[in-house]
Amino acid sequence: MSKGDERNLDHCLKCSTCHTQCPVVANYLAFPGPKQLGPELERLRLARGGKAPFEIDEALNYCTNCKRCDIACPHGVKPSYYNIKNKAKLKGKSLNKFRDWILAHNVWWGKIGSQIPSLTNFGLKFPLTRLSMGLVGVANRHFPKYEKKKVIISKEKKEKKALYYAGCYASYNEPQIIQAAVNILEACGYQVELAPAACCGTPMVSNGLLEEAGKLAEKNTDIFLKYIQQGFKIITTCSSCGLALKEEYAHMLPGEKSNRLRKNIWDLFEILDEEGILPFSSSQKIAKAYYHVPCHLKAQGIGVPAANLLKAIAIKELIIEDSYCCGISGTYGFKKEKYALSMAIGGPLFQDIKESQVPLVITDCGTCKLQIEHGTGVTVNHPAVILENYLKKTQ
């Protein structure tokens, strides 16, 4: 155990604040909650030389890795990190392991799927495919469509350089986000390049494949640092990718490298906010929308820059709501045994959206979008897509 983690352990006062904020606890009483699974059991695991697992470790599988506990803790303990670390040691049922492995490697399926989208999308709807997915423990729900699109980027050299890291969801399922981000950055005076990096590793981390995620993190860090050296800022539009690069990597590869990396990672709207760039203005505003704050954006501790910007320039009435977890948590809601729980966690959010009678929901996270559309039927869009549309209107 690294020294930092041990000190974290010492900080826990048992106050249970984290427990009250865990969305899984609220919907599944048998879940021991972050306080117990994290700092409490960690002490006892150490007592066994970190070797023998506890029976109740099985429950770790139900942690969504939403990180609401980390934000809630008034004492800087990060219970979710113990969960991640110990999940990796679990010996689960082999079938579920297989399924988790498939879901953790969404980047591969993404690559294949987006090469031949129509075939894959047909396959995902085909009853036999659905049946076999059911057999390996994947929930019978809509899958994101795979899409491929060529991104158009200007070749002009500029002073300000941005390396845009799109992440899996935008790359394989919603490439219009990539184009939107590129257009926005260019409009703000950036020379943009697309990052030659694949998955950030979050799905692997959530599915307990820590070692693999660590290797990936190392590889990605080296790629990013090369660009940082040349004066690039790394820009993300996916909350989970952003959190991984800022926080998760620092836990997996503590040291100078990850420290340098985290200082150069920016959410697209975070950098717009930081630089105070608002080159757009128009009277054609969207009347009403609902902004859902993704848990992993919350965990980045940067507030809600996208919502603030959109509210200031593009939307007349924007409801900004950060009290709900949508329940999908990446690949979690795709698992058969967790599907119902995932929908229950999202329940209050769905209801709030329906009651506010909005035609549009905005959120930064791709899987939040899938879940909210699935739970409410309301259209959900990425803030970059909204802003870019608005940008087109102003030009």
């Binding site: 041990e6 010492d10 006062l13 048992k14 009483l29 429950a59």
Partner: protein
């Protein structure tokens, strides 16, 4: 109950309970009396190290030999009470290396296996250690739980027919013609006195043995020697850590369940009841310990306490000594002619079984019973086993104590305190020091044992006060914050000061 037994054993520490078990297994009708709960004397206020003997090989080879012999036996017969963590001795670059050779020679002579390990390899397994290690060796040390040990001895003795009275103090002896005929007992809770007749008394009063003997007009010259210990929130090392140098202050870390016990010191004190650790003593210890564990001062302390060793100083010209150099069996008839009383003093917890054997061999002989000691052949078991439970069943989450364990801990007890329960279960021994389990446990007993509200409130009040006492000397950093939370809950939310309760125990 009958008010005549063959032997009365005084003192419910490791020695007394070990003696009771040995007597019972030889079929001798016996009663043990303890003024508080079991293991509330030094046996509950010690370091928790089942010595391999390696600490003593240079200064006291004989003692080391006894330790390793008992170490092997106890690991075999008392697995519930012992965690076989293994131990290590490390010398740093500031230590005198000529001592290392002397030490290795001693271990060889005593028959203690040592295995050298490179600093590099050891640091991989024990990352908290100082990088300044020059020499390191593994030894067969282990951790032993004094509370469980005493309770397991008693459970075994009970099964063989022996009786135990706790919260019962010996207040006098019935002597006739210079022979002990019985002991006067006082129940500390009710104040009632009674006389129990007997043929023999074995005084296993530890640091109090002198006071007890004085009740029979006997003089045992015991100087109480205080040792301070601190408890860290979690395990710092996985093995017992010893400083490889001539034994001194602050050179042993014992991983004990979920915590680490570190100490100790040695200072003469005025009374065996002086068991408070001061802040100054704690700071001195931490400074010393930082030589082995550099980050020590930043780690969270949850408690500090002290225990008292009985240092026995035989008076000149004494003839009644019949023992090893480590512990002493005093046959009072040889000094003053008083028949029917022996006292056992000194020793270590590690050698309690041997001490019991030597004492019972003598007493059995006097009683004309020639059954041999069999305490090394039969296992002993914890009365409250720790079994797996489901989350949600834990009343104390820090230490994973279940309702079932609370039931087992008070089985056949008319009256009990949460401290009694704690000693058997570890209730409230974790980082929150009873903040979250005390009200739950009080509530649980209120319901399951049908306690009156005032009685349940008393359980709560006593326990919170007791936990507070032990954390006073380490109130800084996180533990100070924890104490504020405790204060908020008990003084604020629950209005503890005005809580209507039965009278406090003093």
């Amino acid at each position: 109950m009958t008010n005549k037994v063959q032997v009365v054993v005084i003192g419910g520490g490791a020695t007394g309970t070990g003696i009771l078990r040995d007597l019972a297994l030889r079929g001798i009708d016996s009663l043990l009396v303890e003024q508080n709960d079991l293991a509330t004397g030094t046996s509950g206020r010690f370091h928790g190290l089942l010595h391999s003997g390696a600490r003593y090989v240079v200064k006291d080879l004989h003692s080391a030999e006894e330790c390793i012999q008992e170490n092997i036996i106890l690991k075999e017969i008392a697995p519930d009470c012992i965690e076989d963590t293994g131990g290590m001795f490390i010398a740093t670059k500031n230590d005198d290396l000529s001592y290392v050779n002397q030490w290795l020679e001693g271990c060889e002579k005593a028959g203690i296996n040592t295995g050298e390990v490179s600093a590099q390899e050891l640091l991989k397994e024990e990352p908290a250690l100082t990088p300044d290690i020059v020499k390191a060796y593994y030894v067969p040390d282990a951790a032993v739980d004094g509370f469980t040990l005493a309770a397991a001895n008693v459970l075994s003795a009970n099964k063989a027919g022996a009786q135990v009275k706790t919260y019962t103090k010996v207040v006098g002896f019935k002597l006739e013609q210079n022979k002990v005929r019985g002991v006067y007992l006082q129940n500390k809770r009710t104040g009632k006195e009674e006389l129990v007749g007997c043929d023999y008394v074995i005084n296993a009063g530890g640091a109090w043995a002198g006071q007890i003997a004085a009740l029979a007009g006997q003089n045992i010259n015991i100087s109480p020697d205080k040792g301070v210990l601190v408890i860290f929130n979690h395990r710092i090392t996985n093995r017992v850590l010893n400083h490889l140098r001539p034994p001194g202050d602050g050179d042993i870390f014992v991983p004990h369940g979920s915590v680490t016990v570190f100490g100790t010191t040695s200072r003469l004190t005025s009374s065996p009841d002086d068991n408070e650790a001061t802040r100054g003593e704690v700071l001195e210890l931490l400074a010393e310990g930082s030589n082995l564990v550099p980050d020590l001062k930043e780690m969270r302390l949850i408690r500090a306490f002290a225990g008292v060793r009985p240092i026995y100083q035989p008076e000149g010209g004494e003839v009644g000594r019949e023992a090893t150099r480590d512990f002493t069996l005093i046959d009072h008839s040889r000094f003053t002619g008083l028949q029917g009383m022996v006292s056992v003093v000194g020793g270590k917890l590690t050698t309690f079984r041997l001490m019991a054997k030597v004492a019972v061999d003598m007493v059995a002989g006097r009683l004309g019973i020639d059954k041999p000691c069999i305490t090394h052949l039969e296992k002993i078991y914890a009365p409250v086993p720790r079994n797996g439970a489901k989350p949600g069943e834990y009343l104390c989450q820090c230490e994973m104590v279940t309702k079932k364990m609370l039931d087992q801990a008070v089985l056949e007890k008319e009256q009990f305190s949460l401290s009694d329960v704690r000693r058997l279960t570890r209730l409230g021994m974790g980082p929150c020091q009873g903040t979250f389990c005390t009200f739950r446990a009080a509530g649980y007993y209120h319901e399951s044992r049908g306690l009156k509200v005032k009685a349940a409130n008393k359980l709560l009040k006593d326990h919170i006060e007791e936990r507070w006492k032990g954390s006073k000397a380490v109130l800084w950093g996180q533990q100070a914050q924890e104490a504020q939370l405790t204060r908020g809950i008990y003084l604020g939310l629950l209005n503890l000061e005005r809580l209507d309760s039965d009278r406090h125990d003093v």
